[in-house]
Structure formats: C-alpha cells, structure tokens
Symmetry: C2
Subunit: 218 residues, 2 copies
Amino acid sequence: MISLAEENYLKALFNLSNEIGEVNVNELSKELKIKMPTVTSMMKKLSEKKLVYYESYKPVKLTEKGKKEAGLIIRKHRLTEMFLVEKMGFGWEEVHEIAEQVEHIQSFNFFEKMDELLGFPQVDPHGSPIPDKNGKITWVEYNKLSECKTGDIVKLSAVIHTSSDFLKFLNTRELKLGLKIKIKSIESFDKSMVVSYGKRPSESLSHTVCERLLVEHV
Amino acid sequence: MISLAEENYLKALFNLSNEIGEVNVNELSKELKIKMPTVTSMMKKLSEKKLVYYESYKPVKLTEKGKKEAGLIIRKHRLTEMFLVEKMGFGWEEVHEIAEQVEHIQSFNFFEKMDELLGFPQVDPHGSPIPDKNGKITWVEYNKLSECKTGDIVKLSAVIHTSSDFLKFLNTRELKLGLKIKIKSIESFDKSMVVSYGKRPSESLSHTVCERLLVEHV
DNA sequence: TAAATTTGTTAGATTAATCTAACTTTATAG
DNA sequence: CTATAAAGTTAGATTAATCTAACAAATTTA
C-alpha cells in the first residue's frame, strides 16, 4: 500500500524527471516544500519498497514500478481535471487544486467511469497527456512558442506550469488550446512576440509567456 | 482546521446521535472500529475545540458547532452519492465507499457544483435527507414497513443501513425508492410480510428487511 | 448489596511524517 | 588546489493517531 505522502513524492518525482531527467534531493525538497532530511528518509523508504533507486549523495530515479504508480496517480489527476472542466463546468484555472485531492481517491471504477464519460480523452484541459491504465504516457513533441520564428503559423496545443494566475492571464487574452496563432514579429531586445489570433490582430506576449506555450506547426 | 480523523469522529457521532440520542465511548469505538482509549483521547481533543461536550464517564454530545461541521460532512457525502448515481451511472450499492473518500475533499465550489448540476436534491439515493449549506437537516418522519399492517398501501421512501449487500438484495427484488407496496399478509410467527408491488404479485420479506425499509402511507 | 460484568480512563509504546541542529560530502570559485 | 558554498545525511525531537496493559468507575445480576 502506498500512503498519501508517498504518492505525493512519486508524483513530484515523475513530474520533475520529465523536465530534468534525474532529480536530486534538494529539488524534490523545494518542489514539495518539505525539508531535505525528510525527503532523504522518505527516499530510503521508497527505495525499500522498490519504487525508486536511491544511493546516498546521488540523484534519485523512479524504478519501473515507481513510474507505473506515479503514472497512475497522474492519470487520476488529469482525468479529474478533464472531468471537472468538461462535465462539471469548471474553468481550467480552477481545477488543479481540486484534482490534487481527488487524485488520491482509491477506486478503480470511479476513474474508469470518468474516462468512459469523457470518451477516453488523450490530454487534459492544459494539453498534458493522460497516462494509460498501465501508467504509460505517450509523449507528443511540441515546440515552445518562444522557439518559433517570424511568419510561423502554429496551433496552441498545451501550456506548461499550470498556475492559476497564468491560466487566468491566458483567459483574459482569449488564449485557448487549439487556437491558430501567427507570429508577426519578435522584439530582439526582450524576445517578446507580437502575434495575431482569433479576433485579435495584434497582441504582444512576453518571452516568459511564450516559453510556457507549447505549439505544433501547421 | 478539522483533520480527516476528526471528521470521521464527528460524522459517526452525528449518525449515532440520530439513532440513539446520546452516544457513549463504547458505541463510538465499535462504530469506528477504533479502540476505546483512542476514542477517549479524541473526545478530549474535540472538546477543547468546542466540537463536543465531554465529561469523564458520561455520554458524548455534539455542540452546535460540532453538529454544523458534522452536517456539512454528511452533506458532502450525500451530494456525492447522488452525483455518482445520477450523473455518473453508478448503482446505489456502489457509491458509499467512494463517497466516504470524496466527503473529505476541501472545496466549497466542488460540492456547490454537484448540488447545482443535480438540481438541489433534498435526499440522497437511499432516501436520506441532504443537510443544507449550514449543515442543518430536515427530518421527514417515515414509518418502518415492519410497523405497518395488513392492507396498507405505502410508498417506499428510504432505506436504513446502506450496506452494499442489503442494497444488492433490494436490487434482486426490484425494490426501488418511490415504489408502491401493498401489504397482503403478515406471518405472526416470524413477522415476515407478504407484499405485492410493481410486476411482482407476491413477495415475502423477512422482518429484518421490513425494519430497514422506510415508507410513507399513501 | 456484594460480586461480576461492562464501560471508561490512564499510562506508556508505536508508527508515519514531519522538523531543527549539527555534521559530512560534493561542487564551485578564486 | 584549497576554501567556501551548496547539497545531503544523521541524530534526535515533535505531533497526530493509533495501540496494549493495567486500573477505575458504573452498571447489571444474582
């Protein structure tokens, strides 16, 4: 049995690994807002349970078993977010906090039913892929908007770092997934972009924002 | 802040109080399957938090504050059960276990949304009343089927003790809330009843079953 | 009403998850 | 290549929720 606390460590490890590969104790500590000694001792425990590879003074890695468990938690999180948006009418900026709690519910059927009612979605409301029933994730290679060049026409496919404030900002600019965006110009001094989309002929987006918008070329 | 463990004690107290008024430590201990010394110490803690009245060797009572908190937890439980049945297609025998977990989720909006999507229901799938936003419950006086007499025609309005097995049994007999039931005869030796309802002209129900079926006279 | 049973409490141990303080190892910067 | 900084560990304390063993109070029964 995996405790609630353990689930949170696995999830954090999974998320950080996907960004930066191996994860050290310090990063995990910051991510979870839990002091390093606590993280160290939890790593020993998860190592005993064969959920992570851990050796003193070295970065931590999820085992296959750990990846699967983490994937299944993230599956529950993302299915929940999708359900909250699609079936309950929440905004995409509201769902993360609720899903953080719902993801720990132990009931295969509950999440199966969500999946079914949603029509087996592949991505959550932020464009992140939903792991399958084995916890396996299918990575789609997106590009950062910030790496595109003037004249490119792209489709907004996902957003990174789903803080509620960032999502509210996107709402105010009517930036939604699936939207076609044309890059009109790039300011060389601050890398901000002037783009057009929907009914907005000219919007300026800071580099920070453009780094968090994932797009596909069309 | 009320912890998950504390919430479970409050809920148990609320439920037991409605059946038997004052509740002693032993009953609470059995209900929660937690040993008596643990219950005693938790009563002291809840008493400090002004959620219960507690004095050594005396029965425990919820304070007004405790009643409100307990009512709100039960509200979340029952809204969840209703949502699972009405919006997600679960059977009434499957929802208790899931609701036991969902009831602890901290999100006003989540349960507001359920309430709204359900059209502000007054009762849960077992006919139990749903407390209002202040945790207040409106009691409707039902009669036990076991207390009715031959010839009575009644409407099945609620069921007590919602164990999954009991509910599955009701499913096999096609006994649903709202059903009109006619009492054809009562066996004096075991108090079992022969009744007719729906497409079933003659069904025998044991006294144990009849005590758990709550009805209104029509 | 005295004995037996049930109910309740106290004391102290245990477990999981956290912390702080002190120390060690590894990495970085002159 | 040493010295300093950053990262990591160990040891020991803390808190919440649980337990068992032993004792005490209340209730039931003979």
